[in-house]
């Protein structure tokens, strides 16, 4: 196999793996715990001295779950409505003078998208490729979180702050997670977070391969680890 194609295949399986490890909490309690930890982590990560309101659900065991992340330090907020892992909407609003909607990131699972997951599963080479060099994890996380290939720049109210909002993210938890990273204006924290996540996912994938717990939840990265404060 051509080296470039091989590397792409490794990255593709790593891409799938990262999402499965941290961004596919099961419906109900796991999703709620993930969002609760997410909300809690925002204050520490952005150092805003402000907690967002806690998420809520209309019915105990039924979607959707809704939440709102206030970011008054830069006069912005975003709210989310998650129906399931492939149907959600996130509205980004500018709150400087009035509550102006910037845009809504809407993912509607009734419409076709290139079925990367189905193809990878059909190809069935996950174990083979994940045994290869997983140092590609950095470029995979770049594409998923740190520097999505398809992205919008929005004007930052803070100097020298680069925001890249991924345009093609169809997983609600990944989308929220990348917003957390992208909207953090503190470069030192962004750098540290990047290093931490590379290490976290590298170790998780290695451990999963060793113990072959691919079919159990035990191999997943817990929200506690995903949002661990290490700075």
């Amino acid at each position: 196999m051509d080296e470039n194609i091989k590397n792409d295949m490794i990255r593709a399986y790593l891409w799938q793996e990262v999402i499965m490890l941290a961004f596919l909490p099961s419906r109900g309690k796991d999703q709620k715990t993930w969002l609760q930890m997410y909300n809690k982590s925002i204050n520490e990560f952005w150092e805003t001295d402000e907690y967002p309101p806690s998420p809520s659900s209309h019915h105990r065991n039924e979607p959707p779950i809704t939440g709102e992340i206030t970011y008054s330090a830069i006069d912005m907020l975003f709210d989310y409505t998650i129906s399931n892992n492939s149907t959600f909407a996130v509205r980004l609003l500018h709150t400087s003078n009035t509550k102006d909607l910037m845009w809504t990131h809407d993912v509607d699972s009734r419409y076709f998208i290139f079925p990367i997951q189905s193809i990878l599963n059909q190809y069935n080479k996950r174990k083979t490729f994940l045994k290869e060099d997983i140092s590609h994890i950095e470029s995979v996380l770049d594409g998923l979180i740190f520097h999505p290939r398809v992205h919008q720049h929005i004007e930052s109210p803070l100097n020298n702050h680069e925001i890249r909002i991924g345009g093609g993210i169809d997983n609600p938890f990944l989308y929220l997670f990348h917003l957390r990273y992208q909207l953090c204006p503190i470069s030192e924290k962004r750098d540290n977070e990047k290093k931490r996540l590379i290490e976290l996912f590298t170790n998780a994938i290695k451990n999963k391969s060793k113990t072959d717990k691919s079919k159990t939840d035990k191999s997943k990265i817990t929200p506690k680890d995903l949002f661990m404060r290490t700075w």
Partner: protein
Amino acid sequence: MKLNRFGINLDEGIPLNENSLEKLYVNCFDDTVSQITDWIKDNETKKQLLFGGQIGAGKSTLMAKIFSDNSLKPNSLKPDITLKFDREGLNLDEGDFLSIILVEFVKRAIGHELNLSFSKLPSEVFGLADEDWQGILNVLCSNIFSLKALENKISARKLITKHADYIIEVISKIGKILESHKKSPLFIFASGLDKYDPQKHTFKLSLGNSIRILSKYKTLYEVNAVHLFLPDNTSPFFSGSRKIFIQTMSSRDMMEVLEKRMGIYAEPIKEELELIAEWSGGNPRQAIRLLVHYQAARKNKKLDKAGRLAIAIKRSTDDFFAFARKPSTDLIKTVSKDHNIQTSLFYLAGDKETALGSLYGNWIFITRDSADSSWPVIINPLSKPFFESDKILSEEPEQKLLLKYAEANEMSPTGLSFDMLVNDTPGKSADELLQDFFSMGFEEPLPLNITEVFEVISAALLSKDRKDRILIGYKDKNILDAARAYLFAKANSYEYQRFEHLVLQGGKDKEPIIKLEEALNLDTDIISLDFTGQFNENQQEALDKYRDNLIDYQMLWWISLEDLREYLPNWVQLRELFEVFILEDELLVSLSIEDIESDLAFFEDLVESEESAEYSMVTNLKIVLEYLKQNRGNDNG
């Protein structure tokens, strides 16, 4: 205080400590610092120093900065003895203050293993063994909190009052032993005297002997600006004492303070910070309070840009001046016209509307030290609306700036979001809107519903790291249980926060300070206190002076509006560390059954144990839900 390295660091303007100095301190009192430092370094002097400034001017922070200076030799500028006169007052009588001095003198003597056999004080007064000086410490400042220990302390203090003359003699002798051991003047820092209103009984009578004892040593007294103006015949301080005044901060320095507080997030709101600096009148605590309220207002989606600043100004005014004793309009007019005040005006004895009262209550700010009898002064920008309801808005500099800002940002009638403005005719100019705002009756605090109160205090209430104090005045007692349950529930949104709710009773034969001490010793995260009974003047003053003991506690105080009107004028010091809210007497307007049920639907799944945030959240939300259902039922029925 937990410090953010790059981001926002807010509190309610409490003094900086050694951890936060490096990050947040602004070097702006160099001359004052060098004067005090030179005095400390002068080992020949035994002259006392009165270091005075107005409430919130930064006295304690400046002293912390000086004492932490290790540039010459570690601890070389630290006092030999620090006396905290605002930390130990149970009854504010002479015994309280003498015991503070006795304890610290004995502690130092024991620390240096000095021979105190000249007296049998331990046995003569306290019924201990002849030489048991440590026993005195054990009784007067026990490390164990128990009812027995507290009773012993109170009894011991009564004995000190009874034998005051003898105790003063003993303290004097210990002082000589300490000086002889040190071979240079004993440097004493008497902190917290600034909390005592010179017109009140406690300062005039109970503190007199203690201050006279200290006048024999090289003592640095931390006092309020008003103490610097006391005429010699009424001042307990030695008439030849040196006096140093901490002035107001320049707008430039204040900007630096605010920028440091906002960290990386200062940049987008530079213009707003400049306005806050102007409205602070050069008082750093006032600036930080304005900033705290401005940040809270930014979360309110209904407010426009100018409305946020206007609300921050109004809320800060409520905190510091709601129901306060107002100075006479004549005095304010004179100050406003002359921009200075004569020392002789402070000497006028009489009622509480004098210049001294205005200075003590921060209605006016002295801006600079003065060598002669004329002191440059301004009216506190926050207090101006109390005196100028019929004046044209754009006359005062900070108001002009706010107007300019409102015009530039297209202020709208809905963007101020006050009830009184809701029905306003559209099309009013920013000038007219602000004119309405400033003439709306600043003396009455703005009532908020429970969700609005929560929105303002959420940054503090949701964080275990923040220790803020909230004072809630209520009209309707019937909604209190549900309102409290709502706040307790929300406090557990992200972290498990235990709370204790207690009744603090005032009035004859009641000991509210002892009860408060009990509350502070509880192993809990949030202390909620329901004030009942009629607190007499002495009990109100004791609470006022107890202010700094509360710095490390997250507190919610619930006081009926009627009582609050009476207490707040006497809590000039205490209110500096509290945010004051008046709770609307209607819960159903702000809380909906649907919202509470949505919160419950989210959290019920997450409960794993009783000792958890989720359990606390769910339990308290159910109380709120029950209240709402019952009352909605009544409405329907």
